[in-house]
Assembly symmetry: C2
Homo-oligomer: 351 residues x 2
DNA sequence: ATGAAAGCGCTAACAA
DNA sequence: TTGTTAGCGCTTTCAT
């Protein structure tokens, strides 16, 4: 027994100790600790004194075991250090804290295996609910079981394949469309699309939106202008070079996420050109470059809040059919997306 | 009773249910679940089947209550969405996950009151240990009590005033010195210092380092070149303007953190000048501007790992006197810090 | 190798 | 208003 190994002085006071010292029963102590009304002033006083003296603090493990409510929420994202998810994390935290619960957080690191372990740990901890960004390629059977066992879940950023639960997404397709149409509105016809691996739900959707915008506005969709692969600087450099060598080269770029945007900036510098650009997903300091980067902003905080809202509804017993909420995007013009068709060639000194 | 209100179908299976179905005692089930050796193959088989059939998952609340070990760590930072702390968070998480524990995270939002509530909640949850960035102005008495009650704590980024516990810090003073000396080495004598409120431990230390570097190298320390206040763009603009109007104006700037750096960049643009600059604290995309921002990088991951190391030592019963570990910084030259004394005036088109 | 039983600290029902 | 007590689900002796 872990606790009893310790010297007596390091055993934390229990409700029993308090009761004994205060000269009341444990029930009374419990009532005082939980601020229940039907206790005499004298008892309250005595209990408070004892608590103060003993440095008593309720043991929530015992409380949880007894009541069955853990007042905790589990959050699994791809990486808590990723700006997008850290913002989501914070928004969820604020909701969780507001209702007096605690938040267990973890990062999947894109590993389905790590995700499974973490989620199952959360389930063993009997979290009241789970907010999950599932890594690509996850087996979902275990989720179905836990979900069926009564743990409410809401999925964020990407939809699950099999679990029938609430989902919160960004309107990736619509947002991409919005961004590309912005470029078209500024006169661009030949627009490159640089984005992440097509295996990723979000990347796929954004390419779809890119294509839709082009077709919608009567422009040709040229697959050779789409780079959808693991983002690496060299590849992007090469790819952009190839596109620029086209007989009808791009005058603008749609970057599918901010890593892509950064690489495109690098590639443009190396090629000594400055194409118009709109990037999906806002980022801090998008305006310290000249021109500032025009972005299609997602709303990570909004996603977090919405996820918690949906979760809370389930916690209150809602049996409504699973809902998928899609949050809109916001285009923030900062300069790069409003550049004219005639490309600007940077003076050498500033490249 | 919360649990028994629920329909029978939604009550999760317990160890008893498994035992009954498998035709063994609860002790045996427990042994199987925990992978203890002394169980017959037949029992293991039967138990596994029952577990599978019932969708049994151990209830950690009960386990925790019994064993007294929560296998959880509480982390309180200023804001989980802040890049510095989110990196620290992730590093801590990885250590925590590696040893099979869970991580409770929360943001103080610079509020001593919120911090107190959160920390006391963690204490009620009986976390095994606590990693804390305490907001400026916190009362620490409650921490002393909890610490004395046996909850190990390590403080990160800023030292506590009263609690005698382990601390992990960045060498703010040394780092600032390193940055300023880098500028001096590139010929600068007149160096401005733009940083946050002097109430903040880190800002204060960095100003100290700035002063030390100047004095060490025989340069005068001119208080009128130090701006240490709440960082707002307008103020920084005005302040820089005033400094530039000096009879012996600055040729370089030491920015005390990355918010300061961004504002200095803005101010320089507005004043149509480009001074050399070194900024404290690295940031993503510090190299997408031209020139890239030379920074004195901290090591948030290293701090997280170190904090967990110290915590684990305490968890294993170390009674050594409290240690303060100071992590060194790393200067990353990217261009802005290597600019010569002769200021560059940007061509208008690029301002 | 295994079952029975005590008990972790708490809450809530019940009795007084 | 209050004390007593059962029991939440688990681990861990102690017999067998």
């Amino acid at each position: 027994m872990t606790r009893n190994d310790r010297p007596e002085t390091l055993r934390r006071a229990t409700i029993k100790d308090v009761a004994r010292l205060a000269g009341v029963g444990v029930g009374t102590v419990s009532r005082v600790v939980n601020g229940m009304p039907e206790v005499s002033a004298a008892s309250v006083e005595a209990v408070h004194n004892a608590i103060e003296f003993l440095g008593y603090r309720r043991n929530d493990s015992a409380r949880i075991l007894r009541t069955g409510a853990t007042e905790s929420i589990g959050l699994l994202v791809e990486d808590v250090a990723d700006p997008f998810f850290s913002l989501l994390n914070r928004a969820v935290e604020d909701e969780v804290v507001r209702q007096g619960s605690v938040l267990l957080t973890a990062s999947s690191s894109k590993s389905p295996d790590r995700a499974r372990k973490l989620i199952l740990t959360f389930c063993s901890r009997r979290v009241d609910g789970l907010i999950i960004t599932l890594p690509e390629g996850s087996d979902e059977d275990y989720l179905i079981r836990e979900h069926a066992a009564g743990i409410p879940m809401v999925f964020v950023d990407r939809p699950p394949q099999k679990v029938a639960a609430d989902v919160v997404l960004t309107d990736n397709r619509g947002g991409a469309m919005q961004g590309v149409k912005h470029l078209i509105a500024h006169g661009h016809r030949r627009i490159a699309c640089i984005t992440d691996r097509a295996e990723l739900f979000t990347a796929r959707e954004r390419v779809n939106g890119y294509r839709d915008a082009l077709i919608d506005s009567g422009n040709p969709f040229d697959p050779s202008f789409v780079f959808s692969a693991a983002l690496e600087q060299e590849q992007v450099d090469t790819m952009l070079g190839r596109m620029l060598a086209d007989s009808d080269p791009p005058t603008a770029v749609f970057a599918g996420n901010n890593r892509a945007a950064v690489m495109v900036i690098g590639a443009m510098r190396r090629h000594g050109t400055l194409l118009a650009m709109v990037a999906f997903d806002d980022f801090e300091l998008a305006d310290i470059v000249e021109p500032g980067i025009t972005v299609v902003a997602q709303d990570p905080q909004g996603m977090g809040v919405m996820a918690m809202d949906l979760l809370c509804a389930r916690l209150q017993g809602s049996q409504a059919p699973p809902k998928t909420v899609t949050l809109g995007t916001r285009l923030i013009p900062r300069g790069s997306g409003e550049l004219p068709v005639s490309g600007i060639h940077l003076p050498t000194v500033l490249r």
